[in-house]
């Protein structure tokens, strides 16, 4: 006997994105609709399968009738909404945001294990960052190699908090957290103890796979060798929400 899934009563709305008439479920966000329809919006903290924090601001879009920019990941679609995903202003802001990320910590691609497989590097190319216009902070951060399988290099971290969310929401271990403010802000394991000494870490490696840069990597990888696989996330997230 076939299992009949109960259809939740979700309405469908129509909206325009970059001049295209689109329909979407009313519980979807702008970025989800854009991803489904292959409309490119840069993003860093957003990830299909994780909760939304709206932290990186790279997915900002213009919505007609709004006098401010809205984060596409944190804005639900609405009937008759008119969205612009690319404009000179948006491109200028996105480029500046990516440049600030590069200026903040050490992102020297040529010697990074994630060279060629890095989302920040890819964002630089797509947002037109051919150089960084602001002065580099040149502040050194720690590298924690105490875990037997993985390593965290805070110099490469962009504080997207994907590791914090995947560990809490998908793995259920909640090993990762955020500590400190401003330039002291960094991800920590188990109340800022060394990762290798963590009681809660299950060594599942999900944090490593979702990390967009070379901040969380496997031990023993050399330049350009750290290729990440994020296919597991939407599958696990859907299974969890179906439970």
């Amino acid at each position: 006997m076939p299992i009949i899934a109960t259809q939740p009563s979700v309405r469908v709305v129509t909206l325009r994105i970059d001049g295209h008439d689109l329909s979407a479920r009313e519980d979807e966000t702008i970025i989800e609709v854009c991803r489904e329809n292959k409309i490119p919006i840069p993003s860093l903290c957003w990830m299909d399968g994780l909760s939304v924090v709206g932290a990186c601001r790279l997915c900002m879009v213009e919505v007609a009738g709004q006098n401010r920019l809205l984060a596409a990941c944190a804005t639900r679609v609405a009937e008759g909404m008119e969205v612009t995903t690319t404009s000179e202003k948006l491109q200028r802001y996105r480029r500046t945001l990516v440049e600030l990320l590069f200026a903040e910590r050490n992102h020297i691609c040529s010697v990074c294990v994630s060279n060629g497989h890095c989302e920040l590097q890819w964002l630089a190319t797509t947002c037109g960052v051919d150089h960084v216009r602001m002065p580099y902070r040149n502040h050194g951060y720690a590298v924690d190699s105490t875990h037997e399988m993985f390593r965290v290099d805070h110099n490469r971290c962009v504080l997207c908090t994907r590791c914090v969310r995947v560990c809490d929401e998908i793995e259920g271990a909640h090993t990762w957290d955020i500590m400190g403010r401003g330039s002291d802000c960094q991800v920590i394991t188990d109340l800022a103890r060394p990762w290798g000494a963590s009681d809660t870490c299950t060594s599942c490696g999900k944090c490593v796979q979702v990390c967009p840069t070379g901040a969380l990597v496997k031990q023993g990888t050399s330049v350009g060798e750290m290729v990440k696989d994020q296919h597991f996330l939407p599958i696990l997230a859907r299974r969890r929400s179906a439970r």
């Binding site: 010697v111 051919d130 960084v132």
Partner: protein, 202 residues
């Protein structure tokens, strides 16, 4: 941005410098290159253009470069190409000299564009950098050199932090195709789009 067509026409009216002038003709674009704090990999990559160099020298003249013997930078050059970051007083001086004498300046490679490997000393104090290099890791004749060598700057800077740059070509090194594309666009009088051929760390 200065496009190449007008750059090369106006160069014809410029007084030709003594050194290197005997080989250059008026309709050729004069190119100077320099190697600051880098590994010379970008210059190697330039040579990797291989047989395309033969066509290229029909259109450009390399008037000053590690590639050629000329020791003086001509008064007026159309295109200056800088490899390497600004790490010491001499780099700073050379970059400023290039800006003064080149109509269009290209930052070639990650060291010039973002500091790259040389800039990895930046989180450390300059004294500890000197100590590490000349005292800690040296067994015999430990000394911090001070005579005949330029003083290091406190922090390594990308070239655009000290002079205005017109074209940025990232990459470690930018591959020969990227360099060829950029030069071809400039020769054709168009604005090159280096990011469609190369990226940081490429």
């Amino acid at each position: 941005m200065t496009t190449h067509s007008n750059a090369s026409t106006s160069s014809a009216s410029q007084p030709q410098p003594a050194a290197g002038a005997e080989t250059s003709t008026d309709d050729k674009i004069q190119v100077a290159t320099i190697w600051l704090d880098g590994c010379s990999g970008c210059h190697m990559s330039f040579l990797d253009m291989d047989e395309r160099l033969v066509d290229l020298v029909q259109k450009i003249d390399i008037v000053y470069s590690p590639f050629v013997d000329t020791k003086t930078l001509p008064e007026q050059v159309d295109v200056g190409i800088i490899e390497g970051s600004i790490s010491n007083e001499e780099d700073l001086h050379k970059a400023k000299r290039f800006r003064k004498h080149c109509k269009l300046l290209i930052s070639l490679g990650d060291c010039a564009v973002n500091g790259n490997i040389p800039a990895m000393r930046n989180p450390f104090k300059l004294e500890s950098v000197y100590e590490r290099a000349y005292l800690e890791n040296v067994n015999v004749h430990q000394q911090i050199p001070s005579v005949g060598v330029p003083a290091l700057l406190k922090t390594v800077l990308p070239v655009h932090a000290v002079v205005t740059i017109d074209v940025f070509v990232p990459g470690c090194p930018p591959n020969a195709d990227a360099i060829h594309a950029v030069l071809s666009e400039l020769i054709a009088g168009r604005t090159p789009q280096p990011l469609s051929h190369t990226r940081f760390g490429a």
